[in-house]
Every structure is written in structure tokens, then in C-alpha cells.
């Protein structure tokens, strides 16, 4: 206290100067309209700045909840998208009928067979010839073998092994993995296959040479796949090479839309009719 008093006495001239300056500036900003307005807007911007920072700090602590909400929202939107796509596909065949009777039949809006489970990748490899990943959902979350795995950008792989809390997926970047696809603009079906090397590029195989291919066309899942909904994005055609000797198919390079380097949030695709389709497929094998 004494030292404080000493300081006040020592710097009394300076403190008096500050005091008179404060009175002057108070008068300036209190009694001049222009200065009052500038002061008001300046204070408002300072308050706004601090409020914004405060809000961003608070938001940071709520990120986990927000992320969860967004994932659930994404699932809802995905389901709606698939539902709409199916309705559109159905409408293509039903329109003559509806025109005739001037009604839209209920079957125009079929119930979607696909639903999604959000999950996270906890381990992933991309540099081996046979890549796998592990996700943080298992049998207790309703995960089973042969479920499709997608990200918000495109196809990721399929589940091949499950435990109670975790599951292993075969990555699209696995030489064993083959996926039935189609080219968006021509609807021509082919198979996507990764041949190793570049984790961004896959090959679209079995497209006959007489089919014209356009660089930039989208490649998506076809209706032949039991694991993924039809029309799910896989990538874009970036190059068409000369076919290998004696083969009647194009060598098509596809740039994957999924970035496997930073893959984190994924969705498991649940096909309600999968077991039914599997049984029928086994029957086909028996017929052969």
C-alpha cells in the first residue's frame, strides 16, 4: 500500500496529465455526435469480435455433439436420396400407366431396402496389395459380414469379419475386390478393380471396345450389386488406354472420389433383402 502511495506521489504529474486527458476525451466522445457515433460503432465491433471468439470457443467444446448430429442427419439424407432415386426409377416404367388413369400408383414410392449405420475407421492401410481397414462398430451394433461400406464421397469397401465391438472391412484398394459398376451417361455395366500401385486410381474392366468412352464420365454402383445402393458414386474416368493384346475390352482408368488417405467417417450399408438375394445366388450356383 505504501509503495503504491509512493508511486502515486512520484508520478503525480503524469497521473494528473492522464486525468485531464481522460476528462477531455470523455467530453469529446460524450458531447460530439460524430465522435459518439464512431465510438459506438467501434465498441460494437469490439463486442462483436469478443462474442464471436466466445462463440467459436464454446462451439469447439460442442464439436463432438455437432458431429454426431451431422452424421445422423447425413444418414437421413442418404436414405431419402436412395428412396427418391428408387421412386424416380420406378416412375420411368409407371408413367404410361399413371397417364392413362391420371393417378400416381402407390408402388411409385417403394420402401427403401437400404439403411445406414454411422461408424469411424480406427485402422486403415493403403500401401499393401491387399488392403483392409478396421471400424469401431461390431455385431452388437448390428454389423454383419458383407455389408457395404461407403463414405460421404464414395464407395470404401465391404465388411469381411466382425467381432463384438469391431469389424474388418476389405478395402476397395484390395486386389481381390471387384465391384459391379456402370458408366453414368451410357448405363454400360463393368467391373471396378484395383491393380495395386496408386491408391487413387482403379480400372474399369470388361467394357467392350465398340462402346465409346468419354473422359470425365462418372462411374457409379450398378443395380447388380447386392451391397451398395444403385447410383452411388465411385469416381471419374480420367484416361482410356489401348487394350492389351488379344483382349476385346477398354483399359479405363478411374480416379476414385473417396480419398483413402484421410478416410475417417464412414457408413455401413444395410440391405434388408441381402440374405434373400444370397440364397437365390446360391441356388444359381447349384443350377450350374
Amino acid at each position: 500500500m505504501e509503495r503504491l502511495l509512493e508511486l502515486f506521489i512520484k508520478y503525480n504529474n503524469f497521473l494528473f496529465f492522464i486525468f485531464l486527458q481522460w476528462i477531455s476525451l470523455f467530453l469529446v466522445f460524450r458531447f460530439n455526435d460524430f465522435h459518439k457515433e464512431v465510438y459506438g460503432s467501434y465498441m460494437l465491433s469490439i463486442a462483436g469480435f469478443f462474442q464471436e471468439k466466445n462463440h467459436s470457443i464454446r462451439s469447439y467444446f460442442l464439436l463432438a455433439d455437432e458431429n454426431e448430429k451431422l452424421l445422423n442427419e447425413n444418414i437421413k439424407l442418404k436414405q431419402e436420396l436412395i428412396y427418391t432415386q428408387q421412386a424416380l426409377n420406378a416412375a420411368r416404367y409407371r408413367i404410361p400407366y399413371s397417364r392413362k388413369f391420371n393417378i400416381l400408383p402407390d408402388s411409385l414410392f417403394p420402401v427403401s431396402v437400404y439403411s445406414f449405420i454411422p461408424s469411424k475407421i480406427v485402422q486403415n492401410s493403403i500401401y499393401d496389395p491387399y488392403n483392409y481397414f478396421i471400424i469401431n462398430k461390431g455385431t452388437k451394433d448390428g454389423v454383419y459380414n458383407e455389408m457395404g461400406v461407403v463414405s460421404s464421397d464414395g464407395v470404401v469397401g465391404i465388411i469381411v469379419e466382425t467381432s463384438e465391438n469391431y469389424s474388418v472391412g476389405m478395402s476397395l484398394l484390395n486386389k481381390h475386390f471387384r465391384l459391379s459398376t456402370k458408366i453414368k451417361s451410357t448405363n454400360i455395366h463393368g467391373t471396378v478393380h484395383w491393380r495395386g500401385n496408386n491408391p487413387k486410381i482403379v480400372y474399369l474392366e470388361y467394357i467392350p471396345l465398340h462402346i465409346p468412352i468419354q473422359v470425365g464420365d462418372s462411374v457409379m454402383t450398378s443395380s447388380y450389386s447386392n451391397y451398395f445402393p444403385e447410383g452411388y458414386h465411385i469416381g471419374k474416368i480420367i484416361d482410356v488406354k489401348d487394350p492389351k493384346d488379344g483382349q476385346g475390352f477398354h483399359e479405363i482408368l478411374v480416379l476414385l472420389s473417396t480419398d483413402f488417405y484421410k478416410l475417417e467417417n464412414i457408413y455401413l450399408v444395410k440391405n434388408k433383402h441381402q440374405s434373400e438375394l444370397k440364397t437365390l445366388n446360391q441356388k444359381i450356383i447349384q443350377f450350374k
Binding site: F17, L20, S24, F26, V28
Partner: protein, 167 residues
């Protein structure tokens, strides 16, 4: 401080309030003749008395132009700065002599070198505080006011103050 000088300074203050405030040129060059009073206040006064007088003169001029606080703030700053400026332009005087140092007793050339920079600084502080930013327009006002006020102050000083003090 002689009675003649005090009277002259009081007259200048009245002239500032009722005449010089009205003779600004194109709202760009203002006649801040009263700054001369601040610069001629005795150096031997106590600092607190000095800035209180400067503050009061500033407030009076502020009231006359209805811009409260701007001249008061600039006046306090300029009377604080003038001591440092005297030290720079008159390095030969020692601190003991400084209290008895009388600016109005110096030569006209010394007065010009004393007044001119401080009047320009006053003009700069005033216009910065008045506009709250520095644009080309602020620069012109600062320069024009500094030039106009310096001219008037030197003229009035050499015609009335210097001669009246000699008598």
C-alpha cells in the same frame, strides 16, 4: 510575466473566442492564434497548474466552437511537449536556468523555430482527434491550419507582443 504580457494574452484569448474562430479559410485552414498563449505561459509554473490553465483555455475555445474536449486535449499535450522542444532547440540552457527562461525575451528567429513546429503539431493533433482518421483531406487541413495559424501568430507576436514587452 509582466502585466502587459498577461493583458496581451487575455486579449488574444478574447479575439480567438469572438473573432479568429470565424475567419477560417474554406473550412480547411483554421486560425488557432490562442496556441501562442499556451506557448508563452511561464516555464517556472508548476506542471499541474500549467496543464490546468491549458485545459481551461482549451475548454473555453471548445465551448466557443461547440466541439467539446478537442482543443482541451490538444492544449494539454502541446504544453507538455513544449518543454521537450525547448530542450532540443536550446541545448545550452541547464535545468536550473530553464525555470527562469523566458521565450518572449528571445530573438524572433528563435521564436519562429519554437512556434512553427509546435503549431503544426497542434494542428495535427487537433485534426486527428477531430476526424478520427488520417486521409488526404485531413492532411490538407493539418497543413493549411498549421501554415495559416503560424503566419497569423508570428505576425501578431512581432507586431504586438514583442514590441509591447520591450516598452
Amino acid at each position: 510575466m509582466s502585466l502587459r504580457l498577461i493583458t496581451s494574452l487575455v486579449v488574444i484569448l478574447f479575439l480567438q473566442l469572438f473573432f479568429f474562430n470565424a475567419i477560417s479559410l474554406y473550412d480547411t485552414a483554421f486560425a488557432f492564434v490562442f496556441v501562442m498563449i499556451l506557448l508563452l505561459l511561464p516555464l517556472d509554473w508548476d506542471y499541474k497548474v500549467l496543464i490546468t490553465v491549458a485545459f481551461s483555455i482549451g475548454i473555453l475555445v471548445d465551448i466557443s466552437i461547440l466541439k467539446l474536449g478537442i482543443h482541451a486535449s490538444s492544449s494539454i499535450l502541446i504544453v507538455t511537449l513544449r518543454g521537450f522542444w525547448i530542450d532540443i532547440i536550446t541545448p545550452q540552457i541547464n535545468p536550473n536556468e530553464k525555470l527562469n527562461f523566458k521565450p518572449h525575451a528571445q530573438s524572433l528567429s528563435w521564436i519562429i523555430s519554437y512556434f512553427t513546429p509546435l503549431i503544426f503539431v497542434y494542428s495535427l493533433i487537433y485534426h486527428l482527434l477531430s476526424d478520427l482518421h488520417f486521409t488526404l483531406n485531413t492532411f490538407w487541413k493539418f497543413f493549411a491550419t498549421g501554415f495559416y495559424s503560424t503566419l497569423l501568430i508570428i505576425l501578431i507576436y512581432s507586431l504586438f507582443i514583442k514590441t509591447s514587452d520591450k516598452r
